[in-house]
Symmetry: C2
Subunit: 264 residues, 2 copies
DNA sequence: CGAAGTGTTGAAGCAAATCAATTTTCGTGG
DNA sequence: CCACGAAAATTGATTTGCTTCAACACTTCG
């Protein structure tokens, strides 16, 4: 099985064989974590950078009344906390949604990795895509009805998981509970259940025992008003997503030169 | 009047006199823009980096049904698009909310600025704080009632504006319409109106002809469940915010060393 | 001074929350 | 392998926060 981190970063830059070897070594030391366990808690400054290699994790905030808001999902290949090192303190927690395999990369290894131009740029890209996803989620939560919002999330996951080889053309494992989805979408668990049924009734999805299948990907994307541009992926613009609307605008571009990067 | 960009970046690092001179020069060439004008449109790759020096601007997404979602507010001192350069394409637009004074900093100037360690780090910090704000907004939209959500936004603006010298202890200019607030909070303009009245009835705020006053800052923060940690500000933790709950956890820290920064 | 944009108010409707009960699934130990 | 308990999913009834539509008032500015 291919390394999801390498697959992901290859979306941003052309990694050399040397880059790949370095990344392979950096992610060799894996450990297993059960579901619903915290990887980092609020106020706890992390010493290592964590990468999810298998399973789903999340970034979440707990409000004083006990309710929680999940503000990011981490799927295989995702860094959990690349950015936090520069800000003194965590303003949120990171925990697993399902059982996970994670890697903890020590600071020195990150420094070594970022000594390589392509990897440095790919890490930049990953950080910025995280922010782009956040913006899309915010827009989605603000202005989309919950059935479209959920459908949108499922489309996003399809592409993100495909990019790291964890989804095939129309299906993937979705190892999360309806309550976890509810905390992500900002709705109640009961309503998630009803929305899922609604999507099933319309034959937009199939979901049983954590296996999601999308009979007609294009139709679901249409329904969710999903435009994959914001994911800034290179490979995964499939037939389904390419043929929609103005496909010339949608073709992926190589990552642009960055002023900040330039200056290094 | 002090330079808001310098004031903002001084929140993150100790700028030297030389740093300040550089930043002053970089922001010398200002221009005025009316309200509701686009600074950058979707799909238009920006050639310069834009900084708001006066007035309010925003980052927004337009959904196909015409509704829009504002996913970030830019107040004086804020970069609009520092990050976009690395991703090939804009997945959103940037426009003014009120009349603004903006600066367009050419690529080369940015490269020159980022040649200075402290400035580079401060720009990093600014980017990460933007993401932190986005997370807080997402949590807020997901799990807070709209009166608390609006109150939370007003608290955030108080601190952000104070940091750049555009708010005093308990008041500031809020040059936006209720419709713009609605697009930000993900609710209808009518409801914004009612929520504002509700806040006024409770003497939590005063708002007339775009001037906001908060009679009891601490009480509004309590009401909004506002915890300023996520803004990662150094100076602006006032009496009001410091005395709440566990203040020892709340004192600002110097910006930590960053692995990515280290590697430069 | 008039027109357009903004703010305000009321009434009706709807999406989603809440509460509560029930069934199904899943993990675990006997 | 089955039985049990706990977690998760499902269903129904009721309530509520917010939307929508529509009318009207105020403000701002050319």
């Amino acid at each position: 099985m291919a390394n999801p981190l390498i697959m992901k970063l290859a979306q941003a830059v052309d990694l050399t064989a040397e880059d790949r070897v370095l990344l392979e070594f950096a992610t060799a030391d894996r450990r297993s974590v059960g579901a619903n366990e915290d990887l980092i808690q609020e106020c706890e400054p992390p010493e290592t950078v964590k990468v999810v290699m298998d399973g789903f994790a999340c970034r979440y905030k707990t409000l004083p009344d006990g309710r929680r808001s999940i503000v990011a999902w981490f799927v295989p290949g995702d860094f959990c906390d690349l950015h936090v090192a520069i800000l003194g303190r965590m303003d949120h927690s990171i925990g697993t949604l399902s059982p996970c395999t994670v890697v903890e990369i020590p600071r020195e290894t990150i420094e070594e990795l970022t000594g390589h131009r392509r990897i440095l740029r790919a890490l930049w890209w990953a950080t910025l895509v995280d922010a782009a996803i956040l913006r899309e989620w915010l827009a989605s939560m603000g202005r989309r009805q919950s059935d479209r919002q959920l459908a949108h999330l499922l489309c996003e996951l399809l592409l993100r998981l495909r990019a790291v080889g964890h989804a095939d053309h129309d299906s993937y494992q979705l190892p999360v509970t309806q309550e976890q989805m509810a905390d992500t979408l900002g709705i109640s668990a009961v309503h998630v259940n009803r929305v899922l049924q609604h999507l099933r009734e319309q034959d937009l999805i199939t979901l049983q025992s954590r296996a999601l299948r999308i009979p007609d990907v294009e139709r679901l994307m249409e329904f969710a008003d999903f435009d994959p541009t914001y994911l800034h992926l290179r490979d995964v613009l499939t037939e389904a997503s390419m043929h929609r609307r103005d496909s010339s605008q949608r073709a992926s571009q190589p990552v642009a030169e960055s002023p900040l990067d330039e200056a290094t």
